[in-house]
Symmetry: C2
Subunit: 495 residues, 2 copies
């Protein structure tokens, strides 16, 4: 298959050989499957030919060219028990004088907020507190938050809370910098215009109080776009917090059920980013680096974080859920959530997250055990993990070796597992892990979904192009894609 | 030993237990030695008592308190063959209009510069070129560079070259932002005042053309302070490049000898940061986070990078040195250099680097094979690696399990190695690896040093407090420390 390129010219022959290497070395250094010469073979030729074309300067429609580079960007991270109280000095060091603190009605009562407020007060920094963040934000709740921030004219933002709080703060910061912008301008296409954020925002310090979203390291913010009946978001590197302060003392207040649900989000962040299509299979190749998405596909740096976070989650999540006094496990889960955040923040997520959005928003009335809320709720982590056994069984064919490496992270002895069984084995390992945590639904049926609800879930998943484009093994043709999503959801009804 | 803390109060008892966990979970999640309950035992108690004191709010002299948090900061990284040409768009996206390009007389002739200049020209961005960077810079050469930049009034910097170029550009950027500062204000104490950099600098894009220093990701700049006859530097997170553009096409021009020498720098960056004292053993605990050094000791995030970079270097450096057409190995070494940069940039280096500075500057006249220079030169990577076998034999006692894990990275079967043999085994593995690269000195004698030169080398090492403070197993008492350094150098004369 190298032949056509080689025939172009003698010099092109060497180039083609080097470029073949170029394609090979886009594989992660720790790729467990280097030993297997056929691995990714189906990737090599197109990628290589694209690269050859590029180097031979034959005109090519960039929209059809594949990516050739990847980018790694992450917030600075500070990690230490008690480090929340340093936040006042951080703002003083930045020269901030008016800070808009963003939190929710629950977290505002917790010690994390007390520490943060004391820190700012001690340094004589003026602040205002917005404590009305909605869990699982809607565009309307975000507009309220933005409207609150603008008149205060803050010179910095501080988010203290879980993913909903940090995501809301990112969007307050974004629209504060673009007062004239239409809300949809930056929303992910196709629902919004997906414009890049072309100027720096104000400093944002994020203090997570859950160990799940990893939002403190990413440029992503997720919310319900009610008008379009879809969960979507805004994603750009410039939305990244300046620093994420990961203080293990702040996650001790999580009830066991929240440990479990948020930990399942970490599990899927790491599994989805580890198995996402490789960045060099993504199209189009951006003509300007500002258009290179944060969700760019698996790459050699995100791989390091994703696999590491997966191993930690398997090791520490069950302990963190079981024993509220196991602070080592809780702390390791906070670290794993942040590492997974750096991983998926630069690689992306795919099917589990894509399907989780309609699962959450089309909730038939399920109330998750251990969540003290007056309305039905499927916690994000639960809605993500419920399809995981089916998803990774399905995606394994795209890269059996990577899926075997993931199964190994769950403690499976893969030495005698055939590559064609990788999906079966990983799917089973995930299902068993979920069961071991207790209080987890054994499929969509336990959440109240019926076979008749599947079409709605499929329709609700289709708009999630930004994540579906990273899904390995998913058909590009719409009807085929619908069929595949439908069978994934069907298989997830119960297991 | 927990007893005294527990007797304080019943509530303190629980706290003490949790804090014991706090100390335990500061160990890296991937710490290979969790299985061994005694591991780091000598660390636990003091750390724990410190933390207890802190939590019981007993007044404690902070200068004697140990660190309790770590911070991870790294430049954004773009990696891809041909990505250098994107640099013009990057500056346009940042709104830069006058760029000061920093390079040296050799690199200025290479394709990397051609690509960068074309990129800027294409976007209509004005620039000036400073191509007089000195390899292994001196304060005088840096002052020249600073004097060149000031009148141009750049709004951004672009460094194209190896570590010397990128380090010089960092300092041009620093003193351009502090025109009134005395050169010694920011230089590492005790040689300089070691003031923190308390404001943001101009954007700096770094395009490495060697795979070694990892300077594109760090806030560190190294140079010879001639007046004090010492190699020292300036280190602060704000010196970090905005983005490092790692383009594997740019390192193909390195001669084999440069591949080898720069790869040895990567080897020691990863080994030294992996074995540096843990961050929670460092004193003093900073009273303001701005004073938390970048070189903070080994921590759970730097560990991930350091061990990964070590494994890659062992796997790919010999190939990159042997075969100039092995672009996969060269590319993997560029990635490894960057990953090691993130690792040591947040953890630090210790003895090999500390002793390398006098070894380079007191060069008796050695000219390294393959370096076309008119003056004697011991390449930085060579001066660092020459003491590595003795150093890691010496440091192993501080943490045998970590040293065994490093030996395993060199391919040693450690299943039957006793912990007390960890140093022997790792030292031998490193010596063998160095020999396998060819054209490497088999000790200081091959560089022309004699036993009578050792005192001078010891004296030249002592001022390197910033790295020596991270050296495991080194005595604090001056005479004992001198003795230990002397025997390390003596043992490094030949092997």
């Amino acid at each position: 298959m190298v032949a056509p390129a080689i025939r172009v010219a003698p010099s092109a022959a060497n180039r083609a050989l080097n470029l073949l290497r170029t394609v090979q070395y886009t594989h992660p250094p720790n790729c467990p499957c280097h030993s297997n010469p056929n691995h990714h073979h189906h990737h090599k030729t197109p990628s290589m030919l694209n690269t050859v074309r590029r180097h031979l300067a034959t005109p090519v429609d960039p929209s059809r060219e594949k990516e050739y580079a990847f980018e790694m960007a992450a917030s600075s991270i500070r990690f230490g028990p008690g480090s929340t109280k340093e936040v006042g000095m951080d703002f003083k060091n930045m020269g901030a004088k008016r800070v808009c603190i963003v939190t929710d009605s629950n977290v505002t009562k917790l010690d994390a907020m007390k520490q943060a407020v004391e820190g700012l007060t001690k340094e004589g920094i003026a602040f205002t507190i917005y404590d009305k963040v909605r869990t699982e934000p809607k565009d309307s709740s975000i507009r309220d938050a933005i409207a609150f921030a603008k008149p205060y004219k803050p010179d910095a933002f501080l988010a203290v809370g879980g993913g909903s709080v940090i995501d809301t703060a990112k969007l307050m910061n974004l629209y504060n910098a673009y007062p004239e912008a239409d809300f949809l301008d930056f929303v992910n296409a196709p629902l919004g215009k997906g414009l890049p954020v072309d100027k720096p925002l104000l400093p944002l310090v994020a203090v997570p109080t859950t160990a799940g979203t990893g939002s403190e390291t990413t440029g992503t913010a997720i919310f319900d776009l009610v008008s379009k009946k879809a969960k979507t978001g805004i994603a750009h590197r410039n939305l990244k917090p300046t620093i994420g302060i990961c203080d293990p003392l702040n996650t001790r207040t999580m009830p066991s059920a929240v440990h479990a649900a948020s930990g399942l989000d970490v599990l899927c962040h790491s599994l989805e980013s580890w198995t996402a299509i490789p960045y060099y299979e993504r199209t189009p190749r951006p003509t300007n680096p500002i258009n290179r998405p944060a969700y760019q596909g698996a790459n050699p740096i995100s791989d390091i974080f994703s696999l590491h976070a997966l191993r930690s989650t398997v090791k520490y999540l069950p302990r963190a859920v079981r024993d509220p006094d196991d602070h080592e496990a809780q702390s390791q889960m906070l670290l794993a959530a942040t590492l997974a955040g750096i991983g998926f923040g630069n690689a992306g997520v795919h099917l589990c997250h894509g399907m989780s959005y309609p699962i959450s928003s089309q909730n038939p009335g399920y109330k998750h055990t251990g969540y003290e809320v007056d309305h039905p709720i499927i916690p994000h982590g639960v809605s993500v993990a419920v399809t995981a056994p089916a998803v990774f069984k399905f995606t394994a064919a795209s890269n059996p070796d990577r899926h075997l490496a993931a199964a190994e992270a769950f403690g499976v002895d893969i030495s005698n597992v055939k590559r064609e069984s990788a999906g079966e084995v990983l799917g089973a390992a995930i299902a068993e892990f979920l069961a071991s945590l207790g209080d987890q639904p054994r499929g969509l049926k336990d959440l109240g979904f019926k076979a008749s609800d599947l079409e709605g879930l499929v329709e609700g998943t289709l708009p999630q192009r930004r994540v579906l484009m990273l899904a390995p093994n998913l058909s590009e043709e719409l009807e085929a894609e619908k069929g595949e999503l439908r069978s994934l959801l069907e298989e997830s009804l119960d297991y």
